[in-house]
């Protein structure tokens, strides 16, 4: 019974957050107005709503909120999965170089194609996946891929791509390209449109679905290679599925939102404190809480200053104190 309530809450909470974000912004909208706008479009009823509100709710706030939820969920779920796979609570979704790979891809596209949005997405995604592949190949010793060499591979690839990002910044045109690169790296959902959601939604959807499906196996994999093997796990296949799915989800998220730190590390930990460490519950909980968190933080970013505050800054500024509060309240939750 208690389990069912938790699951219902996990499903409802992100929907509520998305719904709430339709009201918030420079032009606050009233509840009846928002509901009328929504219903008018769904049921094709004409309520005589000004076009501006129509656009605001359906074309600006809605895609932004949905994308925020998807990105937050993806980062948190892949972070939780990687923590389990690598048996290391300090690992985040960017561990195999996805974020820095995506960052370099985006910077490259900004320089080469003067910030053409599609080019930025495609380059960011392609380089993110390339970074994972490189980490995997570096981590491959003999015919197996021990966890620790995989992490080392990720660290090496991350730092190489970080250096390449710096190089891109160094050669970029300082008046137009450089600010674009810097803002991209700080993360934002401001440009979200439906076609972004559709494009990035494919890898994000595949990744999340895969991780949810295989989530109990992540428990077993977290026992370490030798024990997982003797418990009957095909290490190469199961690890491969987790790595590919988590990378797809993260790369899909990062390529449309830029680099948003913190979510992939700390949301899983907040969930560990609330629902425990069993990945059967932890993975769905991370999905839900990650989605809520990013949508809420994005809303805060839209209202506190005249110009929008980049997401990457706010996630840490808001999430940090919240994490400390939770740590004190749950006394670490069994760590």
């Amino acid at each position: 019974m208690r389990k069912r309530i938790i699951y219902i809450l996990l499903i409802i909470a992100p929907l509520l957050c998305v719904f709430a974000s339709l009201f918030i912004g420079r032009y606050p909208l009233s509840l009846p107005l928002v509901i009328k706008t929504l219903w008018g479009q769904i049921a094709l009823v004409n309520y005589d709503i000004p076009d501006m509100y129509q656009t605001l709710v359906w074309d600006i706030r809605m895609p932004r909120a949905i994308l925020g939820a998807a990105v937050g969920g993806c980062l948190a779920v892949s972070g939780a999965s990687f923590q389990g796979l690598f048996r290391n609570p300090l690992v985040s979704s960017g561990i195999l170089g996805v974020s820095s790979g995506a960052g370099f891809g985006a910077a490259l596209a900004i320089i080469l194609f003067h910030g053409n949005t599609s080019a930025v997405y495609i380059f960011a995604f392609a380089f993110a996946m390339l970074a994972v592949l490189l980490s995997y190949l570096i981590g491959r010793v003999y015919n197996t891929t021990p966890t620790i060499t995989l992490v080392l591979g990720g660290v090496v690839v991350s730092s190489i791509f970080s250096a390449l990002i710096s190089f891109a910044k160094y050669v970029a045109d300082p008046y137009q390209q450089l600010p674009t690169i810097v803002f991209w790296l700080m993360g934002s959902l401001a440009t979200a449109r439906y076609h972004d959601i559709l494009m990035a939604g494919i890898p994000m959807g595949i990744g999340i679905a895969g991780l949810i499906a295989i989530r109990w196996r992540i428990n077993v994999l977290s026992m370490g290679d030798r024990e997982a093997h003797s418990l009957g796990v095909n290490l190469a296949v199961d690890k491969g599925i987790v790595i590919i799915c988590a990378s797809l989800a993260t790369a899909g998220a990062v390529c449309v939102s830029g680099i948003i730190g913190w979510v992939g590390l700390v949301i899983p930990h907040i969930c560990r404190m609330i629902v425990g460490n069993d990945n059967r519950v932890l993975i769905p909980a991370s999905l839900s809480l990650g989605a809520c968190f990013l949508v809420l933080v994005d809303n805060v970013g839209r209202i506190i200053t005249g110009s929008e505050m980049p997401l990457g800054i706010l996630t840490a500024l808001i999430g940090g104190p919240f994490f400390v509060w939770l740590l004190k309240k749950t006394k670490g939750g069994g760590w």
């Binding site: 109990w216 030798r226 024990e227 418990l231 560990r272 059967r280």
Partner: protein, 283 residues
């Protein structure tokens, strides 16, 4: 029929010419315990790894219930052989019952999780080691001895004919060492389990023998078995000197009318150990 057969087994790590062990053969029957004894680094754990299918033999074969382990996938081997690790690194504070349920992985699809039946099996396994009352505790909060019993319960949940244990009493206190040994005896007697274990305690094999379990000891020395047989035959002062370079005394003392306690008590390390070893290498 023997449950586990190892025939002419040789192994060396990839890209290394020196063999870890060479031409080793033995058989273990149902309800028997096979103990591997030998100094640190003699290859006990590597031999166990080969039985588990973590590593693969270069020559020879390992058969479990008549099937060549080389032809079996991890998921199939795990239905024949379970594993109790020497030291389990506890990372995430899973509940005890969740740890034991992981023993059902070989019977659970890749994209599903254990069923209600698997949960019952896990609870029964916890009953067998007497830890059912701790099932909702985070296993990171258990003592070393309780943790080891949880590992044994997880292996039992695998419902395999064979359990491989790597030094199951390492790092345990005086009492829990005994608790683990008693648990092993009880399990072998009640479930007809076959146990293969590496150990550093010769006296444990006397304990198993005294409790009426057919126990075979193999002394692993210089890549081969120095001697294989029952504890009383194999564990003597001479063999201890060859195996460990330690002078020992075999003490006996009647426990009751039917059993005699036997203990090998170390007296001193052998003088000139280094020199002898050097000579062995030169030869």
């Amino acid at each position: 029929m023997s449950v586990l057969q190892v025939a002419n087994a040789s192994f060396s790590y990839e890209r290394q010419s020196e063999k870890i062990f060479e031409d080793i053969s033995f058989e273990v029957g149902q309800g028997e315990i096979f103990c591997l004894l030998g100094p640190n680094g003699c290859g006990k754990s590597t031999l166990l790894d080969n039985i588990l299918g973590v590593n693969h033999l270069q020559q020879g074969e390992i058969r479990v219930m008549g099937r060549d382990t080389r032809t079996l996938k991890a998921g199939q081997i795990a239905r024949y052989i379970a594993y109790v690790p020497q030291s389990h690194e506890r990372t995430f504070p899973y509940q005890v019952i969740d740890i034991v349920k992981m023993g059902r992985a070989a019977y659970t699809g890749r994209f599903s999780s254990p069923s209600a039946k698997d949960k019952e099996i896990a609870k029964e396994a916890l009953d067998l080691v007497g830890l059912r009352h701790l099932r909702h505790r985070p296993y990171t909060q258990l003592s070393g001895g309780e943790g080891q019993l949880v590992m044994i319960a997880r292996a039992l949940a695998q419902k395999t004919p064979v359990i491989v244990m790597d030094e199951p009493t390492a790092h345990l206190d005086f009492k829990h060492e005994m608790v683990v040994m008693e648990t092993i005896v009880k399990l072998v007697k009640t479930t007809d389990l076959t146990v293969v274990m590496a150990t550093h305690f010769p006296n444990h094999t006397f304990y198993l023998e005294n409790n009426g379990i057919k126990t075979t000891v193999a002394l692993m020395h210089n890549k081969h078995f120095l001697e294989v047989g029952n504890p009383t035959k194999v564990l003597n002062e001479h063999n201890m000197r060859t195996l460990y370079n330690v002078n020992t005394k075999l003490m006996t003392c009647p426990l009751d009318t039917s059993t005699v306690l036997k203990q090998l008590v170390p007296v001193s390390t052998l003088n000139g150990t280094k020199e002898e070893e050097r000579n062995a290498y030169v030869r």
